[in-house]
Amino acid sequence: MDFQSIIVNALQAAVSPEAAIFALAAIGLNIHFGYTGLLNFGQAGFMTMGAYGLAVPVFAFGWPLWTGVIFGILAAVVFALALGAPTLRLRADYLAIVTIAAAEIVRFLVRATSLSDITGGSNGINGFSSDFYDLNPFTESIKFGPFSFLPRTMWAIILGWVLVLLGIGFCYLVVNSPWGRVLKAIREDEDAARALGKNAYSIKMQSLIIGGIFGALAGMMLAISTGSVQPSPQDLGPPKTFFAYAALILGGTARLWGPVVGSIIFIALLQFTDGLIRGAQSAGWIPEWFISGTEVGVMRFILLGVGLMLLMLYRPQGIFGDKREMAFDV
């Protein structure tokens, strides 16, 4: 088994556009769940809004790509309003149920044959991202030691991590402001915040919208980096949301860099275990009847499930988290 290439691949995955996508989605969830205590299990729905908002104007109307950015963000705002209006006055678990259902419904909608003229049906949309790659300054693969990135990937990596840094900058500003203080107050005890004159409903809605926009940015990044949008469960279904949650919890909720650190480690870990299983397979250590070649992809979900459970059971504050903060269970 070639350990060196497994490790190189894992490290390369850690900076890949995929890691940036998860970081963006998890930044959004950090605003929702980490700071405000909102259980949004429909981040994939916000990603769908971003991805399709970006691709549809190009695909269906032949408009330039930048108009799609506006549509993607608008779609996320509308989605947040539609989700929040019936649920934000209710207990936290209602939002969880409604968001996960709504995200799936949105995916069914864009997958529908009857809408395929606009959304491409179950084939999704391809070939909308040329406006972005036309600007690519890289013409050759970029090599750093054992790492090598294709020009397209490099360009997407730059976009992705610039977005992540901007996102973190934004979070730094708002989370450490009186606005951020109200978010945390609502997370700790919504009624206390209301009794002190804070319009909890409005602030929760703002949080849902802001975090949702980060979800939409993640979706756009997904669409750009892969050059296609697919209404598949792996791309825009519930597993995507859960992966982002796992990354967030791993890195630590309600910590500025938690979602970013968590995503990097999480993606590297996934890639590493993938590589390990595949390596062990080709070395003949894992028999074909136990895990076949096509089943390696399934393993990462099983690991996700186990990982999510173990994290919540033993380190709910994340791997770097401060145990002191988690001591006050709410």
Partner: protein
């Protein structure tokens, strides 16, 4: 301690009648026909109640008398089936809780709601009203720094007054029950309320802190604020209240000075009838 005669002197010519729903000379809060039922159970059914401005009014009654529900209704945390109430002459029915607070009527909770994972000073600063920095767009622009500094100074002064300044940076979740009660009261004061409604402010507070809490409540009145508080401990009621309102089974059954209430047959029946283990002697109650 305020003896009966002291209470009489404090009222002077404004002394209201000692009957349920009696008129007050300068009411800050007027409640009419408010009713709330849960399933078949009537939790609150108050015909008429006036709360005098700049006085400490105690709301007492056996468990399940509807005191907390009454608080919830008045402060917008629960919606009544019927009834109306006005604060400073302004109708308040169906106003959201945060709007009630913005009008200057602030409450605390029976189970303290200290915001565990915020520091004491952050808890305090949350109480300041109409902060520019609570607007998302202004929050980004950082135009709120001066205001924040002013709020922090005010918060520090209050912490000092409540002798909590040494705990400024601690997480509120790490405070003792009594300290949380103090913090909650101090935080409520950050809103600069005219009417402050305390739901069992002394419950779970150790005796050493009780006296200082009582002192703080009296100070609130001396600053010109109005206080309504729910309490079980009759000593506390006798110590600080100018007026006592008694609820039982959702209704106001008596009003008067603590001395009159202590002798009121109906009140004693209400307590003994529904709550044998709790009597109306003014002895220290066990915690």
């Amino acid at each position: 301690m305020s003896s009966a005669s002291e209470v009489e002197t404090a009222w002077g010519a404004d002394r209201p009648e000692s009957t349920p729903g009696s008129k007050k000379s300068d009411p800050i809060l007027v409640v009419d026909g408010i009713r709330r039922t849960f399933g078949g159970l009537t939790a609150v059914d108050v015909d008429h109640l006036e709360i005098q401005r700049n006085k400490i009014t105690a709301l007492i009654g056996p468990n399940g008398a509807g005191k907390t529900t009454f608080f919830n209704l008045i402060t917008g945390f629960d919606a009544p089936d019927a009834g109306s109430w006005s604060y400073n002459g302004e109708p308040m029915s169906s106003l959201a809780p945060h709007k009630v607070a913005l009008k200057g009527m602030v409450r605390t909770f029976q189970l303290t709601k200290a915001l565990a994972r915020l520091s004491v000073i952050e808890n305090m600063k949350l109480g300041a009203q109409n902060q520019k920095g609570e607007n998302l767009f202004r929050a980004m622009m950082r135009g709120w720094k001066d205001e924040e500094r002013a709020n922090e100074e005010r918060a520090d002064a209050l912490l000092k007054r409540f002798k909590m300044d040494h705990m400024r940076e601690e997480f509120a979740g790490g405070l003792s029950g009594g300290q949380r009660k103090l913090l909650e009261m101090a935080r409520a004061l950050m809103t600069e309320p005219d009417l402050i409604m305390l739901d069992e402010p002394m419950a779970g507070v150790n005796p050493a802190l009780t006296q200082s809490l009582l002192g703080h409540v009296k100070e609130l009145r001396d600053e010109g604020r109005t206080v309504v508080f729910v309490e079980h401990d009759m000593d506390v009621v006798r110590d600080i209240s100018d007026w006592v309102v008694v609820m039982a089974e959702g209704k106001i059954i008596a009003e008067g000075t603590h001395e009159e209430i202590g002798k009121n047959r109906q009140v004693i029946d209400a307590y003994l009838g529904s709550h044998h283990d709790e009597d109306l002697t003014f002895d220290d109650e066990e915690e």
